[in-house]
């Protein structure tokens, strides 16, 4: 088992002539909860999609658990996309059946238990659910897998503050302890307490990667305050997309 879970060197992804990520070098270990933080258009979703194999890098290398992205890494990764990709006539239990067929590490009873604790009726159809409830169903799907790497793209963006706490609590109490959770968000204040490390992306480059406690110790302020400071100084940058 390789030491680092995610390793990338010189990772670059360009859409046409526009670079969404340019020359990203990053290593992320196991058993960590990592925040992928940056303003809109900084490359968060692009990075996550590269890890999932939904996008191919333009240049550079990317490995998960010492292997290049492919079927082997996909079986290790549980991915929560930033938007829903299921048909709305489906019921939560239909999704659970689907995931049980697709993923060997999917724990069906855990998914049902999570639905119960999240207050979701598993027999309901997606189209009858509120936005927050849909997010909860997707979270149950993703967290019920015993994955090595959980990629959560904006898991708390569309829900109210009480539901956010609930979702974060669910993530904290359900992730596989040997696994790493990568959470992309710009709602830093809400998730700061649950993070081990923060990665700041700015215009497609990593500008900071450190533990949350080190940042607080070195800067004397919260990660949220530091983020606001860094990204306030240059309001025209990083928002090109």
């Amino acid at each position: 088992m390789s030491e680092q879970l995610i390793t990338c060197q010189g990772l670059t992804k360009a859409y046409g002539h526009k670079a969404a990520l340019s020359g990203v070098d990053l290593e992320v270990g196991r058993g960590r909860i990592v925040g992928l933080l940056g303003p809109n258009g900084s490359g968060k979703t692009t990075f996550i999609k590269l890890l999932c194999g939904l996008l191919q890098p333009t240049a550079g290398t990317l490995e998960v658990a010492g292997q290049p992205i492919g079927p082997a890494t996909k079986s290790l990764i549980s991915y929560l996309p930033d938007r829903m990709y299921f048909a709305d006539w489906m019921r939560a239990v239909d999704l659970f059946d689907l995931f049980r067929d697709f993923y060997r590490d999917f724990d069906y009873s855990k998914a049902l238990a999570m639905c119960a604790s999240l207050g979701v009726e598993p027999g309901d159809r997606l189209k009858s659910m509120s936005k927050g409830t849909k997010e909860k169903v997707q979270l149950a799907l993703v967290m019920a897998r015993r994955a090595q790497l959980y990629l959560l793209d904006e898991p708390i963006a569309g829900v109210d503050p009480a539901a956010r706490d609930f979702i974060l609590h669910t993530i904290l109490t359900n992730y596989n302890e040997e696994g790493t959770v990568l959470i992309s968000t710009h709602l830093i204040a809400d998730i700061e307490k649950v993070l081990d490390e923060a990665v700041f992306l700015k215009a497609g480059q990593v500008m900071l990667h450190n533990s949350v406690d080190n940042i607080r110790e070195n800067e004397g302020k919260s990660v949220d305050a530091l983020f606001r400071e860094i990204f306030r100084a240059t309001p025209m940058e990083g928002g090109e997309f």
Binding site: R32, I33, K193, D213, R216, E217
Partner: protein, 119 residues
């Protein structure tokens, strides 16, 4: 007793101070078993690794020790408990003097006012 986390200091440090406070106030009595890292982390809404670090600090300070089987036990050493309690009291006293200084009272005046209060 709720967990209160402020923005300006490392989270693990605040957690270990609040755990120490819970021990000296008897919420976790001497010799008792502390809740597991996972339980404590979930209750405080923090990362388990952060809570782990806070608990490691408690061990280093002698307030808790790892049990042979599993988990951690609160120390029964009254000297250590008393020392930590005194240190906590000192912090509260300093906070009082700081707040009084902001209002323009010298330490002597502040102490005098406190004595009046007791009469």
């Amino acid at each position: 007793m709720d967990w209160k986390l402020s923005d300006d200091r490392p989270i693990w440090l605040q957690l270990s101070q609040q755990l120490a406070r819970r021990i000296v106030t008897g919420i976790y009595p001497p010799g008792s078993r502390l809740p597991s890292v996972r339980e404590l982390a979930a209750a405080a809404g923090v990362n388990p690794n952060t809570m782990q670090r806070a608990l490691a600090q408690l061990e280093q300070d002698g307030l808790a020790k790892a049990d042979r089987t599993a988990g951690r036990l609160v120390t029964q050493d009254t000297t250590i408990l008393e020392a930590v309690r005194t240190a906590e009291a000192q912090i509260v006293i300093n906070q009082y003097f700081d707040a009084m200084a902001e209002l323009g009272y010298s330490q002597q005046e502040a102490a005098l006012l406190l004595r009046e209060e007791l009469k």
